[in-house]
């Protein structure tokens, strides 16, 4: 499966997302924000980083990039799209996902190995998990606080669009401990923690078994690949 990873000016975890796709058995395709071309990929990742320095609002300027026209079109037609951290912020700015992000409640950048509960295991990017499964994924962000008005929160909670919730610690003050959200159709998923950094033994979060051995993030990428095979 060819999975596109879009690089924006200021993207940082783009090569890591490509590596994760490769480790999951997919074929990563590097895409450039300035082109109006998805090069025939079957799924898209908006990677983490500080596109445009997080200036104005995180993800805001990138969401106006040329390629985002194609991304929005493809997403609306059902192509799987994963937004990680800065990519999640872009999805919200592009209104592919409800809500918005503000600065962390404690006002600082934070990096930690974050425990999450899988709330929706039916999206294109989460179907390899089971509902209620607890996973550990690195988190690192400054503007990670997910917020929305009451009505929106009620709606996405009611429709099962909350894909992941923080457990243990709410690291940024997100409403309802929300860590990840999908669109109604379940093909577009955004989350604040970084699954691509939990895909390779030796470079992931610590687990009770051994240091740096966590690979819970791999399931995001295998989920989308396996579902494509079934289709």
């Amino acid at each position: 499966m060819r999975i596109g990873v879009i690089t924006f000016p200021g993207s940082l975890d783009d090569r890591d997302a490509q590596r994760a796709v490769r480790l999951a058995g997919g074929e990563p395709v590097a895409l450039w924000h300035g082109a109006h071309d998805l090069e025939g990929v079957e799924a898209i990742i908006l990677p983490g980083g500080f596109s445009y320095g997080d200036y104005l609002r995180a993800g805001a300027i990138a969401s106006l990039s040329p390629i985002m026209t194609e991304v929005v079109d493809a997403a609306n037609k059902g192509m799987p799209v994963l937004g990680i951290c800065n990519g999640f912020q872009m999805l919200a700015e592009a209104r592919l996902i409800p809500g918005a992000h503000t600065r962390n409640a404690h006002q600082q950048f934070i990096r930690r190995d974050q425990r999450l509960r899988v709330e929706n295991a039916s999206t294109d990017w989460t179907n390899g998990f089971t509902e209620g499964q607890e996973i550990t994924i690195p988190l690192k962000n400054a503007d990670g606080r997910f917020i929305a008005d009451d009505e929106t929160i009620k709606r996405i909670e009611g429709q099962g669009q909350v894909a992941f919730r923080y457990i243990g610690v709410n690291p940024n003050g997100s409403f309802d401990d929300i860590a990840g959200v999908s669109n109604e159709r379940g093909n577009v998923v955004g989350l604040m923690p970084h699954p691509e950094h939990a895909t390779e033994p030796g470079f992931g979060p610590d687990t009770p078994a051994a240091m740096s051995s966590g690979v819970d993030g791999l399931t995001f990428f295998t989920s989308v690949i396996e579902r494509a095979l079934v289709k």
């Binding site: 104005l56 609002r57 805001a60 106006l64 919200a92 503000t102 409640a105 404690h106 917020i147 008005d149």
Partner: protein
């Protein structure tokens, strides 16, 4: 050159963590005259000239780009005296 000022504030019903942090700090400092501080943004847009068309463009920018209507309101758009600042 003339400047158009756009002011954006976090929506009143949403918590503004930065403002809250400042409000708390003021309370700690004993500055009880201030009951709340909210923090928004001020954009100064330098334009060649101020026409109705330019003002309309800036209004669109203010709504679509300078602010995110999910969390923010545009509270004012005004033209700065070329003298002022």
């Amino acid at each position: 050159m003339p400047t158009i000022v756009v002011e954006v504030m976090p929506k009143a019903e949403l918590l503004d963590p930065q403002g809250k942090a400042v409000t708390f700090a003021l309370a700690r400092m004993g500055k009880s005259f201030a009951s709340e501080v909210r923090i928004g943004k001020r954009f100064e847009v330098t334009v060649d000239e101020v026409t109705d068309e330019v003002l309309a463009e800036v209004k669109t920018l203010a709504d679509d780009m300078f602010s995110n209507s999910v969390i923010e309101d545009v509270v004012s758009i005004s033209v700065l005296d070329s003298v002022g600042a």
